[in-house]
Structures are given as structure tokens and as C-alpha cells.
């Protein structure tokens, strides 16, 4: 995986909300990893679902896409896919770079 940044442009009005938002997404990542560890599919499905719902609203469209994929993979209990998606999500969170406009 590359180390380059992923630039995302966010509405300047949301500037105050973004730090808290990203902290929560970091927590989600932790929960996802734990859930993967003990094969807790309902939890992964639910977090995927909420990522899908919340990401795009704030302007992180890719986050919604990953969330939807996680929700789906958890529903069909595809562990391999989930492993990969959760790593994608982790990678996305480390590389995302917010610009306000």
C-alpha cells in the first residue's frame, strides 16, 4: 500500500465537527478489529452500516463505500473479505488528508 495522502475536500462549515468525527471513526476501527478477532459478525455489520450512513454526509464518500462493503461482507460472513476491507479502512484513515473549502 502506498503512503501518499488521500486528499478530501470538506465543507468549511463542518470544520469544528471533523476532529471529533475522525476520533470516532478511529474508535470504530478498534471495534471492527476486535469484532473480527472474535468473529462477531453482527457488530461488524452494524458498524459497516453506520459508516455507510455517516461518511458521505460529512463528505467522506470513500468511507461510505468501505462501510457498505463491510456491512455486506459481514452479512454473508466472508472473513477474508472483511480482513481486507478493515485493513483498507485503516489505511484510508491514516492517509486521508482533510482540506476545508
Amino acid at each position: 500500500m502506498s503512503n501518499s495522502k488521500i486528499p478530501v475536500t470538506i465543507d468549511i462549515d463542518l470544520e469544528d465537527l471533523i476532529p471529533g468525527f475522525l476520533t470516532n471513526r478511529g474508535k470504530d476501527l478498534g471495534t471492527l478489529r476486535n469484532a473480527l478477532e472474535c468473529s462477531d459478525f453482527p457488530v461488524m455489520q452494524s458498524i459497516g452500516h453506520s459508516l455507510k450512513g455517516v461518511g458521505g454526509g460529512y463528505g467522506f464518500d470513500r468511507m461510505s463505500e468501505i462501510g457498505a462493503a463491510i456491512e455486506n461482507a459481514a452479512r454473508i460472513k466472508n472473513v477474508e473479505q472483511l480482513k481486507e476491507l478493515i485493513e483498507n479502512y485503516s489505511d484510508y484513515l491514516t492517509r486521508v488528508e482533510v482540506r476545508f473549502e
Binding site: D11, L17, G20, F21, V54
Partner: protein, 459 residues
Amino acid sequence: MTTKSNPYRILVVDDDKDILLLLSKWLTDDGFDVVIAASGEEALDRLNIDEPRLVITDLFMGEMSGMDLLARIHAENPLLPVIMLSGNAQIPDAVKATHMGSSAFLTKPVKQAEILDQVKRALRISPERQQQNPIASEIIYKSKPMEELIELAQMVADSDITVFISGATGTGKEILAKAIHKASPRRDHPFVAVNCGAIPEQLLESELFGHEKGAFTGANQKHEGLFKSADKGTLFLDEIGDMPLSLQVKLLRVLQDLEVRPVGSTRSYPIDVRIISATHRDLDAVVKEGEFREDLYYRLKVVPLHMLSLAERREDIPLLAGHFLQKHHNIGSKKQKHFSPDAMDYMIQAPWPGNVRQLINVVDLCATLSRTETITLNLVQHALQDEPCNLQTLKDAKQEFERNYLISVLKITNGHVANAAKIAGKNRTEFYKLLGQHNIDTADFRSEKNPLTSKNLNV
């Protein structure tokens, strides 16, 4: 906190804190006053305290779902607009939500412009909503209670919310149902009316849901059914109070699943119809008697509208009489007639058991019979006497006959149920059931009591 300048307070309900923050931000930036709740239960508490003008709720939440919340909100306040947000774009949910009266159904992630647009539509503060099809164009009234009713009908017209119209025969239930359809976005699709009391039980099912060729004897052709004919339009279930219990179960299932399975078919298909129902019966009482399913009743009367009898809104009589006279005149082509003042006064005070329908008949009769331009008091009095007002419905007549019959049989047998049942050609269980339905107590007929003076009898 409340800002004085803005009257619109919005309650946002979601178990995801980041969604709450985001929606609050968008809405407050646009000048709305926002209160939030993290669950359906909390939302119900907030409703009474904050009295919002609009609710936005998530569909999937912990204990109480958005759909449950919608039902609870509308049980108390059917006109409070509710916008649903869902993580999944599932059509059945969306359809169900709109039938239950949600103003809009949006899929997350939701965009700022989209939500603000829907909020303004629901609150009727967007410009395009102002130029509306007025529901009142064909319904004549001036009384205050009718005005309020029409206003209510106007408000519910442009959603898919299920409407239930009560009121005596001839008060205008059907014309109101039609007007709601015409003022709704479904106006270019069919309005299909069916009288549930007039069609025999066995036929009604296939009439409503359709049947396959050969589904039963006589089904020589496939029949699509009224739900299908009303596709994208409105289905008006008139005299729903007369629908047989066996069919009520089936109708309930259709309204729950929004799917119809034709008689004799193995497959169901989804339906897209708005339901308006009406009855002249006191359905609360019919439910208590066990002749109408309570669960179905609740599903139908999401928005209950009650048509007042003509005697409860006498101010409307002159206007209506004038209107029907004008109509009569347009059909014939002689000189326009009018009522003498004392004739009009008489009409204003008449009892009108047959309501507007009776008024139309009386006006037509007077206009036809009057040889002078002025319709006299005398003629109106005659017309009101001769007019065979308010025939009973077949069902009511049958009920009355059945009750009188049972009473006669019990009198003859001195309240001996086995003998009475034998005469009636029923087994005892069936006979007891009938007695129960008519609230008849056999003790009143036993010989020690004189049946003819018993108070329970109103023969």
C-alpha cells in the same frame, strides 16, 4: 435554544451521535431550531416538551425503530410531518413509511441540499408547494367545522398517508375521498371505488385481489383485481365496516406486506396504491362487538376524518341548495329558479336524515315540479315528505330482520334455546353465537318473566 426569530423547531432522532451533530449543524445554519434525541423513547419524551413542527428520524435504532416511532407520533398527532432516514434503500420500507404518513424517505448518506429541500417541503415553506390544487373546488361549504375538515384533508392530500372517513350516509364521504385523490400527486392515475358491503363475500376477495383463470368455478378468465386497477392511484374502500371478517384478515395482510396474491395464484406482486376507506357505521362500536378487527381499524385510520351530518352544519344548506339548483338549471334549460325565503328557512330547519344526498333529491324534485320561478314553501314541504329519505342499507335491514326473527322464535319457545335453534334450522352453538351478536338474553323469554314487558326488548 429557542431563537425568537424562527418558529420552526425540528426534532432529530438518531442513535448515531455524528449524524445528530451533522444534521443539527446543517439545520441550525439554515436558521432552524433543533432539538435532538438519541432514541425513539427519548424522542417521545421530547415531543411533549419541545413541541417540534417536524421530526427527522433514523429507521434502524436500538429498542424502538423509526417506524414504531412514526406510528406512536401519528397516534397522537397525525399531521406532524416525519421524515425518515434509512441506511438501506429498501423499497418496501419506503412504501410502508409513506403509507404510515412519513413525508419523505431518504437514504443515508444524505446530502445537505437534499435534506433541507425535504424539510422545507414538509413544512410547506418551499415556494413550489404554495401553488396547490385546492381540494375544495368541488366541495361546497361555508361552515367552520367543514372548513377545518377541508384544511385537514388538504394537508394530508399530498402524501400517501392512509385516510379513514366516517360519517352518515350522504354526507359526502365519497366526494371527499375523490377530492383528496385529485389534490394528490396520484391525480393522473386511477381513483377506484369499491363498495365492500355491496359485493358478496366470495366475490369480494377476487374482486379486490384478482384471480387466476380456473381459480374457482366460474372463473373462466384471469381477473386482475381492483388493487391492480388502482395501481399508482387511489383505492377507495367504501363501507369498509361491512367487510366480512374473513376478508378483513386478508386485507390487513395486504396492507402490512404491500403485496397482493390473486385467488388461485402462487405468486404475490407488490402494490402501489393509496388507501382511503369510509363507513357510515360507528366503527369503534363495531370493533367492540367483535365484528371488525381492531388491528385493521388502526391501520386504516391513520388519519381519521369525520363528515358532519347536514343538521350539524346548517349554515351550509343555503349554499348547497343554491349550488344544486344551479346544476339542475344547467341540465334543463328553462329559466333559473330560486327558493322563496320561507321555503329556504324551512329547508334550513329540516332534519335531513339523508344528508346532502337527500338535499339534492329535494332540490331536483322542487325544480322539476315548480311551475313558477319561485319555489314555494308548500312545494318544499311536499318534496320533503315524499322524498323516500334514507333507505336502510341491505346489511342494516338484514340485521334488523335477524334480530326480530330471533326474538319471535324465542317468544314462541319461551326462551328454550334447543327448540328455538331447531325452528331456526341452526345448531345450538350457532344459535348462541347469533344471540350474542344481537345481545339477546334468553332469560327475558322464560315463562316466569313476561317477555312483552321486558325492558331489554325493543321490537
